[in-house]
């Protein structure tokens, strides 16, 4: 009886291994469907729209026509593209890859050594900016950097005069604002990664006479390489997409001095009503994001033994 039952079971398992595996994927299906509908859907729609002359109003609003690569050809000859690309690279490089990443790592390393209350206060202060909704953070940053803002009042108190930060140094202002807002994420990732480093390893290095910098360079950083790559990928993509912060603070101005690709895409699609051209800009942005994503995914794979 017992034997025959087992035979039936094994026979059953042998006959339909694919079905079991597929059944195991079932719980993932809703998530995948949601991703496809709400993430892949708009991306595909944007790609499609970028090959049309879709517009908000006018003759092509309801029945856009297929115009092939015209939008892309126009984009390549648009003097705004190199400017906007350059600004985007500076913004992402400066505020994410250098700013948030290094500052987050530094904070995480220092907080391991700091006294508990100090670490708690610093941690709360940094995370507070991350907790704020983007629009609130953007207004806070605008209020801080604007002409009558906090920064100028502080500088005025020191007798350093008034600078129109958002006008004279718009890129610096949005860089600093984004570093302020986003550092918490890197800090949290690195704190988690650092706490995973076994104490023995650091101890052994200490015994061998490694100094603080040597331990950081040869022990800590190699051991958290995976976290660094993951963190870089996430903050790069997040920063590529930053729109609200820039829109509220400078709206891309003055004289386009802070028009990154997302701002340019918005301006073209909604301010000028040229949805086709705007989505072409957005598609370029997606491509850049994909390239970064692929590069980091590769980095992660090489990391594994």
């Amino acid at each position: 009886m017992a034997v025959s039952l087992r035979r039936v079971q094994t026979g059953h398992r042998r006959r339909r291994p694919g079905l079991r595996r597929q059944a195991r994927l079932l719980p993932v299906v809703p998530a995948v469907v949601l991703l496809l509908v709400f993430l892949a859907g708009p991306v595909l729609w944007a790609f499609h729209a970028s090959f049309t002359n879709a517009a908000l109003t006018g003759r092509n609003a309801r029945n856009p026509g297929w115009i092939g690569f015209d939008n892309y050809a126009r984009l390549l000859s648009d003097p705004m593209l190199p400017l906007s690309l350059g600004l985007t690279v500076l913004f992402v490089g400066g505020s994410a890859i250098v700013g948030q990443n290094l500052l987050g790592l530094t904070l995480a390393v220092l907080m391991r050594r700091a006294r508990r209350p100090v670490a708690a206060v610093v941690g709360t202060a940094v995370v507070a900016a991350w907790v704020l909704p983007e629009i609130v953070a953007a207004f806070a940053a605008y209020a801080y950097f604007s002409r009558d803002g906090t920064l100028n009042q502080l500088l005025g108190g020191l007798g350093l005069g008034q600078t129109d930060w958002l006008y004279s140094f718009p890129l610096v202002a949005i860089l600093l604002a984004n570093i302020w807002r986003g550092t918490a994420f890197s800090m949290l990732v690195y704190r988690a990664a650092l706490s995973d480093i076994p104490g023995e390893v650091t101890e052994a290095a200490l015994m061998d006479g490694a100094g603080g910098w040597q331990r950081l360079a040869f022990i800590t950083i190699p051991m958290i390489r995976g976290s660094i790559a993951t963190n870089l990928m996430l903050i790069t993509l997040q920063t590529l997409a930053v729109f609200t912060l820039i829109w509220v603070m400078t709206a891309g101005g003055p004289a386009n001095a802070s028009t990154t690709l997302p701002v340019l895409a918005y301006l073209e699609a909604f301010k000028f009503g040229d949805i086709g051209y705007g989505t072409a800009v957005a598609s370029v942005l997606i491509l850049i994001g994909l390239v970064f994503g692929a590069a980091y995914v590769r980095l992660l794979r090489e990391d594994k033994p």
Partner: protein, 449 residues
Amino acid sequence: MGRALKITSLIAAAGFVLTACSAASPEAETRTLKVAYQKTDSFTALDTLFQAAKQEFEAANQGVTVALEPIQANDDDYGTKLALALRSPSTAPDVFYEDTFKVRSDVDAGYLLKLDSHLEGWEDWDTFDDGAKAAGLGDDGGTYAVPLGTDTRGIWYNKKVLTAAGVSVPWEPRTWQDILDTARKIKASDATVVPFNMYAGKATGEGTVMQSFYELLYGTGSELYDADAKKWVVGSPGFTDSLGFLKTLYDEKLAVSPAEALDANVWKKVFGEWLPEGKLGATVEGSYTPSFWQKGGSYEWAEYGQDMGVTAFPTQNGQAPGGVSMSGGWTLAVGAETKNPDLAFEFLATALNQKNSLAFNVASSQIAVRKDVAADSGYQAANPFVKDVSELVAVTHYRPATAEYPRISAAVQEATEAVITGAKSPEQAAADYDTAVKGIVGEAKTVAK
């Protein structure tokens, strides 16, 4: 499996970059009229109008619900949100508030219902001013929108500031030079006062062109668009001269600093702080200006009637007709896809009847387009400037209402920004504008004059 995960995560990552738009739920009942309009903290007159019209209409039409859908946004964003809603029949409102300069391109897009057959049976239509009726015309000559009111633009000056500087009031500048002379006089008498504000740059959007650049341009005898030839004007000396005037104003610090000019909120300071506090000599603004200062306005200022004066913006050298104004204004329109065109038009007619038009024109300091409203004593006494600004209708101009206009306007704004920040000379900025225009509409649709 690993590959699928990777692809999924890449797609998810790309999703970070592009945010999706959301769709609204479809209409639940057929006998519901959706009404879309603009409402902001400082602009509630329209909300009041529609609330009143809704009550009146629902009482007269049993079983019909009017769903008011105010959109909280500035003019630019309102236009965008409305256009997005109009793109799909399931989200398109039945009746909506429409900017006059968007009427033609939205007719082109097929968003607006032709109203000719409805207007024939509406006796009130005869009371509308003929000039104002033209604002609702499509390219085919049909009427697609009914005007709510119009506006004009002139120079608003603070009499106290001018008198303190030794300028006699009423002030009536005849030429651009008169403006500069007066501004220099104010500057010399009190360096802390901003003598003369004219908007510039992209931050103030349409304000830059409607309340500044076009007053200059149309006063040189030049124009933006040759309406007869349907071509955009390039290479005009008037364009360069206008930029030159702005340059003088900003370079000599007779206007606000470029940094202040490029703050999108500068107009709030003009109305809310500088003029009431006597820190600004004069500004170019619209006939709706008193709506900010009168009782219930966003910057109540009891003495504005005595302290402020209004005058026409002069032509370059005082040439005929001696003044320049720009006009815009808003209309009500019916959505092309509405399921109840008759009801929708009836609601539009209720909202625009004599009583409601009067209340709206008074509350928002609009120039009336209904003759029976214009003749009403309540309207004429609404604020001390009704007569002055209404007279500017004689010298007013309208924006070219074509689909390319928003882009051309942006190019003009960019030219002013480049000049006041010192990035380009007026000649360079004008040449770059010409290139931009040719790029936007194509060389064939431009004319040099």
